[in-house]
Subunit: 387 residues, 4 copies
Amino acid sequence: MTETSFRRLRYAMVGGGRDAFIGAVHRKAIALDGQAELVAGALSSSPEKAKASGRDLFLADDRNHGDWRGLLDDELKRPAHERIDFVSIVTPNHMHFPVALAFVEAGFHVVCDKPLVHTRAQADALVDAVARMGTVFGVTYNYTGYPMVRQARDMVRSGVLGEIRKIVVEYNQGWLATRLEGEGNKQAAWRSDPAQSGAAGAIGDIGSHAENLVATVTGLEIESLCADLNSFVPGRPLDDDGSLLLRFKGGARGVLIASQINTGLENDLRLRISGAQGTLEWRQERPSELTHLPHDGPKRILTRGAPWLCESARRASRLPSGHPEGFIEAFANLYGGVIADIRAKLAGTAADPLAADYPRVEDGARGVRFIERTVASATSEAKWTAW
Amino acid sequence: MTETSFRRLRYAMVGGGRDAFIGAVHRKAIALDGQAELVAGALSSSPEKAKASGRDLFLADDRNHGDWRGLLDDELKRPAHERIDFVSIVTPNHMHFPVALAFVEAGFHVVCDKPLVHTRAQADALVDAVARMGTVFGVTYNYTGYPMVRQARDMVRSGVLGEIRKIVVEYNQGWLATRLEGEGNKQAAWRSDPAQSGAAGAIGDIGSHAENLVATVTGLEIESLCADLNSFVPGRPLDDDGSLLLRFKGGARGVLIASQINTGLENDLRLRISGAQGTLEWRQERPSELTHLPHDGPKRILTRGAPWLCESARRASRLPSGHPEGFIEAFANLYGGVIADIRAKLAGTAADPLAADYPRVEDGARGVRFIERTVASATSEAKWTAW
Amino acid sequence: MTETSFRRLRYAMVGGGRDAFIGAVHRKAIALDGQAELVAGALSSSPEKAKASGRDLFLADDRNHGDWRGLLDDELKRPAHERIDFVSIVTPNHMHFPVALAFVEAGFHVVCDKPLVHTRAQADALVDAVARMGTVFGVTYNYTGYPMVRQARDMVRSGVLGEIRKIVVEYNQGWLATRLEGEGNKQAAWRSDPAQSGAAGAIGDIGSHAENLVATVTGLEIESLCADLNSFVPGRPLDDDGSLLLRFKGGARGVLIASQINTGLENDLRLRISGAQGTLEWRQERPSELTHLPHDGPKRILTRGAPWLCESARRASRLPSGHPEGFIEAFANLYGGVIADIRAKLAGTAADPLAADYPRVEDGARGVRFIERTVASATSEAKWTAW
Amino acid sequence: MTETSFRRLRYAMVGGGRDAFIGAVHRKAIALDGQAELVAGALSSSPEKAKASGRDLFLADDRNHGDWRGLLDDELKRPAHERIDFVSIVTPNHMHFPVALAFVEAGFHVVCDKPLVHTRAQADALVDAVARMGTVFGVTYNYTGYPMVRQARDMVRSGVLGEIRKIVVEYNQGWLATRLEGEGNKQAAWRSDPAQSGAAGAIGDIGSHAENLVATVTGLEIESLCADLNSFVPGRPLDDDGSLLLRFKGGARGVLIASQINTGLENDLRLRISGAQGTLEWRQERPSELTHLPHDGPKRILTRGAPWLCESARRASRLPSGHPEGFIEAFANLYGGVIADIRAKLAGTAADPLAADYPRVEDGARGVRFIERTVASATSEAKWTAW
C-alpha cells in the first residue's frame, strides 16, 4: 500500500458559500469520517462572497478563489503533494456542466450534485470525458447512501420479494407552496429559473432523486412513461408538481409522484416495492427502518445497525442501532465510496466494490434522460412516451 | 311523532349467507345500535344454503326464503305491521341490479352494496326508479362512515386547506397476489369473474371506494383521467392492479392507485389532500386519526371523540376517544343515516341532514361511471379520457 | 344438542340507563353477534330514569323495572321459556356486591363490571356463592378480550419470550385532570366518591385493568408491591394517579402506572413484557398490533386476522386483517365466552375452553385484593408490602 | 474580537482508541462543524494501542502519546500557538476523575464523558477545582443536545404545560440481556466491572442520562426516591435493570426506569411530562419529533427545523426539517456550546448563554449523587430515601 492511506485526501469545493444550503452538507459529510480535508475553493459566483465564504472555512488566502477557473488554473500549477485529490461541485445546476467537464478534462476526480446537467448532449459529453480520462466521478444522489436503502437493494436483487410487480415512489415537499422565489429566497429562486435549473422544476430537483432511488434499488429500466406536470403557484415558469405512470421493462408497473406544493410535508421521499412474494417500504424521514411485508408471515421491521443486515448496509452504518443516524451520514457514505475509489486509483489497485459504492456519471446521465422524457410526455397527447 | 320511533325497524337481507363475508358485517352494523332487526331473508342463491343460513340467524321459517323473488312476493302480501321497512342487498355485484330495481319498483327502501351495478344504463334506470318511487336508497361506501372522514369533509369544504391542488388516494391490498380464485376461495372467485363482478376487478371492487372517498371529502368532479390497468396473476381475466392520473374540474390534480397484489398489505386505503393552506392525511387502518398539516404551523393529529370536532364527526362516534372504534361502526353510521331517513319518511317529516348522512343512489351511479371511464382509458392510446 | 342453540339467550341489565356510559357498550357488544337479546331491565337507581331508559331500548312495560329487586322478583316468577338466562350488572361499583350476590344466590348467571366489589370480604362471599350455586360469573375486564392480548398470552405462556424478567404496564388517561366531578359530570362524580367507588380512585378504576392484563397475559403472581398514590386535583378524596414497583413470584420485576391526570392522553393502556429471549409490546389504542422483538432477529408486527396467529386469537376476530376492530368487539368476545359457557350448562355439556374464555369471579376477587394491597402500601413506610 | 474566531480550536483526546465506541462519536461530532481539530492524544490505556490509534487518526508522532500523563506534560511544554484549547476525556468511568482533575488543575478546559466520577467526594473535588481554575468543563449528557429536548425545556419552563405533575422517563436497552462481558465484548466488560464502572451498572450507564434529561427539561429537584435494582444475568455483579419512584420538590411525582435487559429494544430513551395544562412526549429514537398534547385541543407534533420553535431549538439544528439529523448532531451541539464558551474566554468576553448551552460539571456532580442515592435506596428497607 502506498502512502495514500496514511494521509487525508485534499479537496476543493466549487459553490457552497454563504447563503447556499447543500455545500455545507457536503463539507460536514466529508468531515464526519476525517478522510479528506478542504484545502481550496471557489465558493460562490460572486468573487467577494466566494472569498468571504472561504475565510469562514479557514481556507488559506492563496487557495481561496473568486471564481472556479482561477481555482482550476491554480491547482494545475501546484505540486502533487499540495494539489487537490478531488473537487466537489455544489453550484446551481447550470454550472455543473462547464465546471465538471473542465475538471474532468484536467484529470481531476469529481463529485457533482444532481441533476447532473441540463441536456442529454451535455450528459453524453461528460460520460465520454470521464471514460476517456479514467477519472472517478460521483453524483450525490444522496438518498441511496442510507444503509436501509442498501439493504432494500440487496433484498430486491437477491429475490426476497420475488418478481417485482408494482413500484410506488413519492417525493413530497411543501416548501414551494407559495411564491418564495419572489421573496428573496435564493434556494427557491434558482430552482424556479429555467436558465439555472433546466427544463424542469420539481421533477428535476426531487423527481430525479425518486427515479434514482427506484433504479438503484431495483435495477429495473423504464420502458415508457406518462407524465402530468403542473405549475400551481401563479407566475412560476417550471413545474412544481408532477405525477407519472411508469412501465418498466419486464412487466413491472409504477407510479412516481414529485411535488413541492404539498403544504406541510417536509421531505417525504418514500418507496414501496411489491413483488410476488412480498413488499418493501422505506421512508426517508425514518431512514433507519425498512419494513418488509412477506406474503406469508408477519410484517418485519429491519433497523439499521443490526447484525443480520447485508454487508453493504452494515458497512454504511457508524453507530449502534437505536442511535439515530441521518442525512449527513447518508451523504458521507457516498463520499466514503468516492474516497475509497480514489484511494484505490492512487494505490494503483482495484477498488473493493463494497467500498466504492456510489452513483456514477452514468447514473447522472440516466437522470437527465428521465427529466427530458418526462417533460416530453407532459406536452404529448399520446399516452405513453417511450424511454 | 308517530309510533315509528317507538319500535325497531324491520329489515330483510338478500345474500349474505354462509361463506359470505360482507353480509355478516351489515347485520352486525345494524345490530350495533338496536334500531332495526332482521325479520326475513333470502340469504343465498342456493335455496338450501339460504334456508340453512336463515336458521343460523333465528329467522322464522315462513320468512326464510330460498330466493329473493319469493321474499319480495311474501313481503308484498304481509300486513303493514309485519312488513319490512327496508331490504339490504349484499349479493355479488351482478345481482344488485335486478334485486334493487324490483324492490324499489315495489316501493321498498333499499340498502345496496357497491359497486352499484354493471353498466351506466342500469345505473340510470335505478336512479330513475328511485326518483319516481321516492324511496330511500343507500349505497354502502362504508369508508365514508368513519367519523374522521366526515371531519375531513368538513375541513375541506369549509376551506381549511384553501384551494385544493393535489389529491393522492390509494387502496392497496395483497390478498389477491396469488390465484386464490383457483383454490376454492368464494370471495376471490366471484370478484375475478366478469359475469359476476362486471367489467373491472380491483378498480371496481376497491378503486370505486377510493373514488367515492375523494368525491365525498372534496366534492370535486373528475374532468378527465388516464388509467393503466394490469392483471399480474396469470389466468386472471380482470385487472388486479391499476393506477390513474386524474384531472379535476377547477384545476386540482390527482393520482388514484388501487391494487390487490400488494403482497403483505392488508386494507390500506389512504387519502392525502393538499391545498394552498394545508394538507390532510387519513388512513383507514388507523381510522380514528386525521392528520392536519397546516402550511404555517405544527402538524396536528385530530382524534375521534374530541369535543372540538365538527358536529357530523361527533355524531358518528359512540365511544370516548382512545376507545377504538372500527369498520363496523363506520358501517353502522351509514345504516344510521338510512334509518333516520326512513323514520322521517314514516313520520312524514323532513330528515335532519346531519342524521340522514349516507351515500345515495346517485353516488353509486357515479361510481359505475368511474369504472366505465377507467376501463375505457385503459384501452385507449390517448392520454386523457374525458369523464 | 338441545334447543338452546336454536334460540337467542335472554338477558336483563341492571344499571346502564340514560347518562351512563358503559351500559350501552355492554348492550352493543351483546347485540353484535346476535346471540342474546335484552328482554328486561332495571336501568337506573332512579325509578323514573330506569323506566324512561327501558322505553328507549324497546323493553316491554312489564319487564321494565324501577329497581333491581323488582326485576329479580319478577324474573323468579316467570316461566322458564320467558326467564332471563343471565343478568348484566353495570352500576357504579358500590352496587355490584348486593346485586350480584342476590342474583347468584337466586341461581342466575351473572356478568358484572369491574372492579368487582369494595372489600376482600365481599369478594370472598361472592366467590363462595358462585362456587356453591354453580353459576357462570364473568367480570368485564374487557381489555383481555382483544385478539392480540390473547396472542400475547399464548406467546408468553408457550415460552416464546423465555423466562420473564421485566414487565411495564401503564394506563394513562387525562380526562380527570380537572375537577370534573364538581361540574356535573356523572362519570367523574361517582368515580371520585369513596362511597360509590371504594377505597381507590384511579387505581381501582383503571389500575385494576392493568393488573388484570398482566395476570392474564403472564400468569405471574405478585409477591410484593410498593405504591405511591397521589391526588393532584384539589378537593379530590381519592387518588387520581399512582405508580407501583412490583415483585413477582419467581423473580420477575415490574412497574405499574395508572393515572387519570395525564393531560391529553386518551385511553393509553400499554404493556411491555421482556423475557430472556424477547419482548412483547401492546397498546390498547392500536389494539390490532402486537409487536414482538426477538433478541436475535428483526422486530415483528403481528396483526389481528392473520392465519399464523394462535387459535384463541383467531377465534376472537370477526373481520379480515386491516378492517379495524375495536373496543366493542373486545367486549363482545368476553360475552361470547360467557354465552358459550351458559349454552354448555343449558345443554348439560362441558364448555369448550377456547370458547368459554373470559375473566371469572376469581379474577375479580384478585383485582379487589390488588386494590386493597396497593392502598395499604401507599400509607406504609415500609418499602415492600406483601401480597 | 481576537484572532481566536479566525482559527480552529485544537484539542486532544484521552481514550477513544481502537475497539472503543464513544471516542469516535466525539471526534465525528467535533469534526462536523469544523470548529476544532484533533492535534494530540493518548488514545488508550495500552501504549501500543494508543499509538496505533493515533496513527489511524493522522496524529503527528510527537503528539501521539502512550499515556495521558505524557500528553499532559507535553502540552504544558508547548507554546500557546500549538497548545491544545481543550481535552476530551472518553475513557471508562474510573479514569475520569484522575485525568479530569489533572487537566483542570493544569488550567485546561475539559469535556468529560458521563457518569462524571465514582463518588460524591470526587465530584465535589472536581467542582471545586473547576471553580478555582475558572475552566470550562462540559459533561456529555449528549441527549440534551437534541433540538427537540431544548424545545421541550423551553415549553416546560415557560409554563406551557402548567404546573408539572407526573414525569415518566425510561431508558430501555436490550444489548446486555446475555452475559456479553464473558464473551470478549469490551464495552460490556468494563460496564459490568465495579472497579471501572463504579457502584452501579445500568443505573450509572443509562439511568444517569434519564436523570439528566428530566433535570434539564424540567429544572425540578428530586426530594426522595425509592429504588429497586436488579441483576438478571447470572454472574453479573452490578445492576442491569432498575426502577424508581421519584418525588420532586414542589409536589411532582415520577417514575424512572433504566434497563439493559429489555431484549430487542435498542436505545429507547423516552420522556413524558404531564402538567395541569398539557403533556409532552419525546423519544430519542425519533429525536426530531416532540409531541405536545394540550388538555384542550388536538395533539401537535412539533418537528425539528420549523420556524416556530424556540431560538434554542432552532440554533441546535443544521438541516431543514425532514432531513434527518441524529445522535452525532446532538453530540455536536454540546461541543458547540463548549467551544462557544472557550472562544468567549479566549476573547475575554461573556459567552452568549444561548450559544454556551451544555451540561456543566455541576450537572455531572448531581448525576453522581443520583447514582449514590439510588444504590442506597436499593438496599434500604425504608420506602423513601432522601436526596
